[in-house]
Each structure stands twice: as structure tokens, then as C-alpha cells.
């Protein structure tokens, strides 16, 4: 499973968690592309794009887009709406949202403490006792 398209050290990631995610994919031999496509969500009367969405990753072998967000659960309404709109307009597109709690659990699982610590404080894991 070669990985010719992956270049985590030379890609200009917006957030460090994206670089870590790319390194995890590389480690397990999964090809990825960073923000390769932009999808138009809305246009004005003259056809100009007024809203667009570029998912963070595309995994070509899986034909899957992955969007990462470190926003707290109460603040991801806009992101959820964009993904919902994307799915309405492009029903053939497979996309998965990795939420703050997903990324936190992933970093804990792999022992990446510095990234996990940055993602604590979410209300995604509550004490239900």
C-alpha cells in the first residue's frame, strides 16, 4: 500500500490536528489528499458562488471525504448545515465529520497527549452516573 500523494511534512495544514490526522493515515498506508475539491453550495442570481465548502481530506481508495472540526459541540451548527447542504446537492459524495470528541478520543487512543489535552473541555463525554 504505497502512499504517493501523502506529504504531511510539506502540506500547509490549517491546524496541527490535521497534520496529526495525516500522519496517522500515512502510518496505516491510507492515501489522502488535502482539501482537493471545493463544492459550491449557493450562488447568487448572476451565478457567482456565495458559499462553498472544501472538506479537509479526501481518501481516494475509500472514495470518502473527511472533515475535521475542533469546535465545541454547541458551535458546530454552521458546519453541520454545510455538510447537510453538501449531501443534498451532491448525494453521490460520501463525507464523514470527525468531531472534537472523535479527535480527542483518537489522540488519547494513540497516546498523543499534547493534541488530546488541546481537545479537552468538551461536553461530549458527560458523567452520567
Amino acid at each position: 500500500m504505497n502512499n504517493p500523494q501523502s506529504q504531511p511534512d510539506s502540506t500547509a495544514f490549517v491546524h496541527p490536528i490535521e497534520a496529526e490526522f495525516a500522519r496517522i493515515l500515512d502510518y496505516y498506508g491510507i492515501q489522502w489528499e488535502y482539501e482537493p475539491h471545493t463544492f459550491t453550495l449557493t450562488t447568487d442570481d448572476e451565478g457567482n458562488v456565495t458559499e462553498a465548502f472544501s472538506p479537509d481530506f479526501y481518501l481516494p481508495q475509500q472514495d470518502l471525504y473527511v472533515e475535521l472540526t475542533i469546535m465545541r459541540p454547541k458551535l458546530i451548527t454552521k458546519k453541520n448545515r454545510k455538510i447537510q447542504r453538501l449531501q443534498e446537492l451532491y448525494p453521490h459524495i460520501n463525507i464523514k465529520l470527525f468531531k472534537r470528541s472523535d479527535l480527542r478520543d483518537m489522540m488519547i487512543k494513540y497516546g498523543i497527549d499534547e493534541q488530546a489535552a488541546n481537545l479537552l473541555g468538551t461536553d461530549a463525554q458527560t458523567n452520567e452516573s
Binding site: Y28, K96, I108, I112, A124, Q125
Partner: protein, 196 residues
């Protein structure tokens, strides 16, 4: 009736759990059902059950005693992604199978699948060895986080999107010995990640 101790017997480990998701009895019952099904499906095939160390050993130990046909067992271990291993490149095999599997009916036993990254890697590794068949039995499935599709022939439970421990599932190598699956208290998760 379970032959395991009640949860409170596990002291601090049990105190760190906010809620039990799957009781010991529920897990035992489902493992028995999986064992029955595998016994029926693999009759006269002499399957090789392949487990993954370390997390999968609990499920493997219980499952194989619920299978009533002749079987053989082997284990694999691979390096997981970590701060220490990430600069070394790809996954490294830490323990390979003891015998060749070409022509064998292999049933891969894993305790949990979430992203599917590790399982996908291992299945690719096994497929090139030309087994007669290669199927997967997973006890716990966190499908919402799946990045790589892996066909599951046998599945025990769907798990919610929470940080769970017990029955082989760990947090910093602890809690694997809890005989049930529970949600770890958030303060335990936070305390450990703040270095306290």
C-alpha cells in the same frame, strides 16, 4: 449466573466508570451466540482463529471456549501509531503468526473496530498469504468513526460514540480487566490528560 465478580469488587477501576453500557451477563450471552454461530458455520473446516494482542485476548479467550468444533488459535501483534512510532513510517509487525495460513479457513478475531485502520492493515497482510477464506468477527463496533470499510461476518454489539473501557478496552493500559463495558468518567479522562 456469571462467574465473574460483581462490579463493586473492582474498587477504584469500577469507581472510575460513570455508567455500565454492557453488563457481564450481556457480553457472556452474546459471546455464546457468536460461538454457536461460528460452530455451525465452520463445521468440518478446522478454522484458524487469529487474534490481535493485547486488547483482543479477552474476547478471544471467552469466544474460543464457546466454540464446540475443532479449532486452532494464533495471535498477531502490530505496533500502534504513537508519538514514538510515528516517525518510523508504516506499521511494524511485532509478532507474526507461527504457521503459514495458505489454504486455511481463517477467522480474524478483534475486540473492537472504529476507524478500521488497524484491521484493514492486518487483513491486507493476511490476504496475500492465500488463505482459503478470511472473515472477521468483531465484538464491539463503533461504526460512526469508520474510515475504511471492513466486511464484518460476525458482530457482537454496536457501541455509542463514547470513551468506553473494560472487557479488553483500555485507557492508558488500565481497565482491560473489568468484566463489563462502561463509560469512563470525564474527570478521569481529563485528569490523566492534564498529567495529574
Amino acid at each position: 449466573m456469571s462467574h465473574y465478580y460483581p462490579p463493586e469488587k473492582y474498587g477504584q477501576l469500577n469507581d472510575d466508570v460513570s455508567r455500565v453500557l454492557l453488563s457481564t451477563e450481556e457480553i457472556e450471552q452474546r459471546v455464546r451466540e457468536l460461538g454457536d454461530q461460528i460452530s455451525r458455520d465452520y463445521v468440518e473446516l478446522n478454522p484458524l482463529l487469529v487474534g490481535v494482542l493485547k486488547g483482543g485476548m479477552t474476547f478471544m479467550a471467552d469466544l474460543l471456549r464457546m466454540i464446540t468444533i475443532p479449532i486452532e488459535v494464533d495471535f498477531m501483534a502490530v505496533s500502534s501509531y504513537s508519538r514514538e512510532t510515528r516517525d518510523r513510517g508504516l506499521v511494524r509487525m511485532q509478532k507474526d503468526l507461527d504457521e503459514p495460513i495458505n489454504g486455511r479457513h481463517v477467522l480474524f478475531i478483534e475486540h473492537i473496530i472504529d476507524t478500521g485502520l488497524t484491521l484493514n492493515y492486518l487483513l491486507h497482510n493476511l490476504k496475500v498469504r492465500n488463505p482459503a477464506s478470511l472473515k472477521v468477527c468483531v465484538l464491539f463496533d463503533k461504526s460512526r468513526r469508520r474510515l475504511v470499510d471492513v466486511p464484518l461476518a460476525y458482530k457482537g454489539f454496536d457501541l455509542p460514540d463514547r470513551f468506553v473501557v473494560g472487557y479488553g478496552l483500555d485507557f492508558r493500559e488500565r481497565y482491560r480487566n473489568l468484566p463489563y463495558v462502561g463509560i469512563l468518567k470525564s474527570e478521569v479522562l481529563h485528569a490523566n490528560n492534564n498529567g495529574s
